[in-house]
Symmetry: C2
Subunit: 200 residues, 2 copies
């Protein structure tokens, strides 16, 4: 069975950097947003189409008596994307050793016996990391006040928790679901990567 | 400031072994039950006296009208032991670099900026470790059925959680209170020790 490392992470904690470094040290594949791009290529709904629907909220020109509104269709689309994403993640894991960041991969690949890492941090460290423009991941936080950043970080993490819990039925970030939980306030991503590369 | 490593741990997860190995690798002091022994030496109440009180529950020969029963004195005794333990832990941490297992040391020493480790595991691994007579920590589990062991493990961990939460006001095992949480189902204590020794 391939060596699979999954990473759950709080926004602003350096999880993606840790993931990339682990993949580099082990010389294995690394996936995060590429998964979504792959989904967009495979499904008949392109990313542009989805964005268009979301932005323009088309008016429904006739009464609907089926008990479902137009917008009730969206969850079906969501399920379709989720199923496709699920299939792609399993395909990637079957194909080669890899690191997969986010997307509930620890749960989707539970029968692959993945090494399950969760990266977190305290709020002040997350804000500091977001303010650091030297990492391309977080430069979107430039120019925001600390209060605005904290709100944004909490929003994104709430969204990640909701997504994870909806699709897995498990609590996001609960250490029982992981092999290793690391607080990056004191431990740098490169140290995490060296340790994980050594034990995996 | 001295190098202080505190370890919280689920019973049966190998936390004491990890602690001893970290102390060995770093060549620093290691404390767990020694703390209690030290308390017994310092306080006027010996361990034997305490045990005697607990076992024989002395009858109160007269009515008490102060609004406090004899047994209401016990929490005072508990607080006295706790205060003494608190002082000893701080004294140890002030004296030299050390590893301290349990006793809420992560909270008691929070102004010492300790490295805070939590060791846990899944139930099947904890049962297996308890059944392994090669470690003196757990040979008390020999001869018990798996159901009996599970019950015992849960009881001890409930007791640890209650103790920690009572004296710290924090949730025992909540990763937000630790720098590193390691599941020993996949990671052996020696690997934990090597990593912690490297980053501390």
């Amino acid at each position: 069975m391939n060596k699979i490392i999954t990473i759950g992470r709080e926004f602003g904690s350096g999880g993606r950097e840790a993931g990339r470094r682990i993949a580099e040290l082990l010389g294995i594949a690394y996936y995060d947003r590429e998964i979504i791009a792959e989904i967009a290529k495979r499904t008949s709904l392109s990313e542009n189409y989805v964005r268009n629907v979301a932005e323009h909220k088309p008016v429904i020109p006739f009464p609907i008596h089926t008990g479902r509104t137009f917008w009730a269709v969206i969850p079906d689309y969501g399920q379709s994307v989720q199923q496709e994403q699920h299939n792609i993640i399993r395909e990637m894991a079957s194909h080669s050793d890899c690191v997969i960041v986010g997307r509930g991969a620890d749960y989707i690949l539970r029968d692959f016996n993945p090494f399950r890492l969760f990266i977190y941090s305290d709020m002040s460290s997350k804000i500091k990391r977001c303010q650091d423009n030297s990492t391309s991941d977080y430069d979107r936080g430039a120019g925001m006040t600390e209060d605005e950043l904290e709100k944004r970080i909490n929003q994104i993490n709430k969204s990640r928790a909701d997504y994870y819990e909806f699709y897995t039925g498990q609590k996001w970030g609960d250490k029982a679901n992981y092999d290793l939980c690391i607080n990056t306030a004191k431990i740098e991503p490169i140290k995490i990567a060296e340790f994980v590369a050594k034990i995996c």
